[in-house]
């Protein structure tokens, strides 16, 4: 089946990002297609490459990036939510006059239409949040 995921909370603060990752991995292992993971609300904070969690803990962003690299999972960060919260790629940084960007490899910034599209295109949409 084609499955879409919606992640609404940032990493570490809530378990949502962990549960979503474990679910995505299990779905792929079962042969399903994870069509897209859409990061909304504080979920956009999953997509910063500037995090340095303790070495004996999981690195949430890198797990997502590895999932994207290994299985081609489309990791989409909502542009409007990202602008509010300070997640940007080089293009967004330039457009908004910022001197740095922080998007992690494997993530891309796009519009809310990508979420609605996922809901329509996928057989199931599963939401993880607070």
């Amino acid at each position: 089946m084609k499955i879409g995921l919606l992640v609404n909370e940032g990493p570490y603060q809530h378990q949502a990002a962990d549960t979503a990752f474990q679910f995505a991995q299990a779905a792929i292992e079962k042969g399903h297609e994870v069509f897209r993971v859409f990061f909304y609300h504080d979920g956009v904070n999953n997509g910063t490459r500037l995090a340095t969690p303790p070495q004996d803990d999981r690195h949430i962003q890198r797990r997502w990036t590895a999932l994207a690299e290994a299985h081609g999972v489309d990791l989409v960060v909502c542009v409007a939510a990202a602008q509010r919260r300070g997640i940007c790629d080089p293009d967004e940084a330039k457009r908004n006059g910022k001197d740095a960007d922080n998007i992690a490899p494997g993530f891309r910034i796009s519009g809310l239409g990508q979420l609605v599209e996922a809901a329509i295109e996928c057989d199931r949409l599963v939401t993880f949040g607070d």
Binding site: V116, E117, L125
Partner: protein, 137 residues
């Protein structure tokens, strides 16, 4: 914008406005989603009914007032807003306490019709069950 049959999408709102951003950012999804020409409705359950409370005024809060955006829903063809009766009653509210949201029915000589439909919990449960996708905000 999409091939295939229309899907039934519900935007289910359970949070109060103000304390968190879920109501605001949820509404942004509804407005963007309107372009996809699906079978769309909204539901307001629990504290979600407070989103439709009339008279919200954030001028003393230093925060943007987004409640007028609900009035735009009719223009986006989002005109089925189901509000749970029990949730209103538990909060001492009636439909008169809510913003008077309407839409214009082009099939009925552009008659202005109410968008808000008060339904009881059992009916709302059946509505949720009938959706292809439910968004939770």
């Amino acid at each position: 914008m999409s091939a295939g049959p229309r899907k039934k999408l519900m935007y289910l709102n359970r949070r109060a406005p103000g304390g968190t951003i879920y109501a605001v950012e949820g509404l942004e999804v509804v407005l963007i989603g309107a372009a996809f020409d699906q079978d769309v409705c909204m539901a307001f359950v629990g504290d979600g009914v407070y989103q439709l409370k009339a008279g919200q005024d954030t001028s003393d809060s230093g925060v943007k007032n987004f409640s007028p955006a609900y009035r735009a829903l009719g223009d986006y063809d989002v005109n089925r807003l189901y509000v749970e009766r029990e949730s209103l009653e538990e909060r001492g509210l009636g439909v008169d306490d809510l913003m008077p949201l309407t839409w214009e029915d082009e099939d009925d000589d552009w008659a202005e019709k109410p968008s808000i439909h008060v339904v009881d919990r059992a009916e709302l449960a059946r509505l949720i069950d009938a959706q292809d996708v439910v968004f939770n905000f």
